[in-house]
Symmetry: C2
Subunit: 431 residues, 2 copies
């Protein structure tokens, strides 16, 4: 397999690509490295490869002409790729696909980057090794060359080790131990010395599941999990971000479709659906707020029916869900209740289906903003009935969450749907 490395620092690659197994693969000819030195294609006395950007801004750019000449000098470039933070991330699956290629050309940018027209002139795939900034593409190119080359048959000396456990099933690898079997009281787990291969396989699978849950829970949704895996994961202790999240459904003051301040009736199904979300996601609580006495009385009748009455006997799950629900006059009362329970003043986030277009409005909160609050304090997330929360509620919150469908013209979800989606986005990944 041939790697054509297009760079103004060809010497960058010398030591990393000659160390260890990589060096051996180059020696045996399994991998060939073609260093294309861009500077050799630069014109002028100074062999200058860079120039200032049009439109101003810091730093220099790699000029078009030497890059074009460098690329055209490669007889058989194969797939042309460029390391760039703009690229699609390098993954093990992508490395595997690339290992089937005969030739790969890797363009390494430097300075502020390249002249964009290079992308118009060649079919260049952008690839990123991560969301961090480097001095140039060379370090990423080393990662790409290593990750691809080591998957070539013969690279590892034996056949089965190129594809590690890591990522192969979408889980992190289990821990390894070697001699001595005891070091200052730290012993190798007995199961690994038992000789029982079934037990060892189970132990390793469980370690992989535990490590993934603890260190990379974001990998779990796409991991291939059996029912046994899920049953094991359920036994593990987990962070419960949801415990800090409280939701409120505000029935007054809200606005109607003419923007007038109104009160909206409490409805049975809103209470049911939101209580079930609150219980399913392990939230701190759910408040329905209305100052109207007969509405509160009706809500209490519903709650009592399901918590203690005939409903609780027919449907104990529903009784459990309604145990999370309280009916109060207003948001202030809900805030006091959270303070009484937790000893902390909650942060308040409003929700809205519309962008806040008021002049000097703060940018909308992102889900990440609210998640970072949840890590440290209780958060009360306020939903409006009718056509949304009145200004006097909005102005008392710490911000308004970005609307669910903020890029679309149509955003008319029911409040029940909005609650389900927003709670899921905020705390689904807690695991």
């Amino acid at each position: 397999m041939n790697f054509h490395l297009v760079s103004i620092f060809p010497q960058y690659f010398e030591s990393p690509l000659s160390s260890g197994l990589m060096g051996k693969a180059v020696e045996t000819g399994l991998v060939s490295l073609d260093h294309v030195d861009v500077r050799q294609f630069a014109g002028g006395v100074h062999k200058s490869v860079d120039d200032r950007p049009f439109g101003g801004g810091p730093g220099m750019l790699l000029k078009l002409d030497p890059m074009i000449k460098a690329l055209d000098s490669i007889d058989s470039p194969g797939r042309i790729m460029m390391l760039s933070p703009r690229g699609k991330p390098l993954t093990q699956a992508r490395a595997r696909a690339l290992s089937a290629e005969e030739d790969i050309t890797l363009i390494c940018g430097r300075y502020e980057g390249i002249d964009e027209r290079l992308l118009d002139l060649y079919p260049i795939e952008l690839v990123s090794v991560g969301d961090f900034v480097l001095n140039g593409g060379e370090a990423g190119a080393v990662c790409l060359v290593e990750s691809v080359a080591r998957l070539l048959p013969g690279f590892m000396g034996h056949e089965d080790s190129g594809e590690e456990e890591s990522f192969s099933a979408g889980l992190l690898e289990y821990p390894h131990y070697t001699r001595p079997d005891a070091h200052e009281g730290l012993k190798v787990p007995a199961v690994l010395r038992s000789g029982d291969h079934g037990k060892i396989a189970t132990w390793r699978r469980e370690c992989s599941l535990t490590a993934t849950l603890n260190d990379r829970p974001d990998m779990l949704p796409e991991a291939s999990l059996t029912v046994e895996d899920i049953d094991f994961l359920r036994t593990l202790p987990r962070t419960r971000l949801g415990r800090n999240l409280y939701i409120a459904l505000c029935h007054y003051p809200v606005v109607n479709k003419f923007g007038e301040k109104v009160a909206v009736s409490v409805t049975n199904l809103d209470l049911h659906d939101m209580a079930r979300v609150a219980r399913s996601y392990g939230l701190g609580g759910f408040y329905a707020t209305t100052p109207i006495e007969d509405q509160k009385a009706m809500a209490d009748t519903i709650l009592t029916h399901w918590k203690q009455g005939a409903g609780s006997l027919a449907n104990p799950d529903r009784a459990e869900a309604f145990s999370k629900v309280k009916v109060f006059d207003d948001i202030e009362a809900a805030v006091l209740d959270i303070e009484a329970q937790t000893g902390q003043c909650p942060r308040l986030a409003a929700t809205s289906a519309r962008l806040d277009r008021r002049k000097n409005a703060e940018p909308a909160l992102t889900y990440g903003d609210v998640q970072s609050w949840l890590a440290n304090s209780p958060v009360l997330l306020i939903f409006g009935t009718g056509h949304g929360l009145a200004e006097e509620v909005l102005s008392k919150t710490d911000g308004v969450l970005r609307p669910v469908r903020y890029l679309d013209d149509y955003n008319h979800l029911s409040v029940r749907s909005a609650v389900a989606i927003i709670v899921d986005r905020l705390v689904a990944d807690e695991y």
Copy 2:
């Protein structure tokens, strides 16, 4: 700033860390590199650093003893980090935080990895440069050293370039151009030569937004976006995965809480909430299925009221939502309707609140599985009323989606909530 590089291949770092600005930073003493060669701490005639893993499996491990001696040889190790696919990903924010440290020790594993007990003996933070496998930690260490060192004051020679545009606002960088202003008909955008700094800034912002939407839409939810940014994004063409997604609410055959096959009544609010989700997410359509004639008649009355009757005048948004709804006898009829519309046979995915515990049951579908279907063909996602879909419906599908709260004991969401959450998870990221 001192980097202590613990590795069995100290020579690996030679060329990358002596090239370009990095080399200059080492020369001037801004960065000092302390190469800790693990092999020098190995005992025995062969200075062996590796051994076989307990419990079997491919490859070799780095032995505990030389690693301990190597670490203990460092006078002032500072934060001790190890490159590992198990680590938390390196990000620009993390690089920035690390650039405030005086000392950083980086442990580079090799072979299958290290003896896990090393993590019990030292406070080691694991860090990953990406979801791909390398020959060892050295390539990742180069990335970390580069990304951190370049943020040190003085590294870039001028102050403003260490923190690039990339990632600083959570968006990809805009394109750059330099001389010549025309190359074979490819011109530099006129705005960049206009001298109008306001227009240039707007153009660059819009390019960043466009690049992020096209290449890294996963970054948008956490990007800091103004109302103007969002209004601009709304004008851009977008992939619409949702167009291929159809949802069905099945009222027969479903099971009751005793597992018996029953029919459930069509309810007004299920139709409303699901129609609104279907329209808000731009889905292909929503089918309510029941073979019972008076139920179909009632559903038709509701639909007609909102699509053509008094409801459509009072609430045109709702008329638009209901335009997505059709009432059919059964899932087979919905499938035929999708085939007639698209010319393609849809793939069928069932949903369930419970894990499929039948012997030989296929592993549950992940959201990624269904997303990959959506890229190529229509998909009909089937929701059950009552206590879930009957076996005869499940058995005709291509798989059952993993339950929404699969790690929790309580999973009693309303079907309205489940629809909202599952549709959001499947197509929210389409943008």
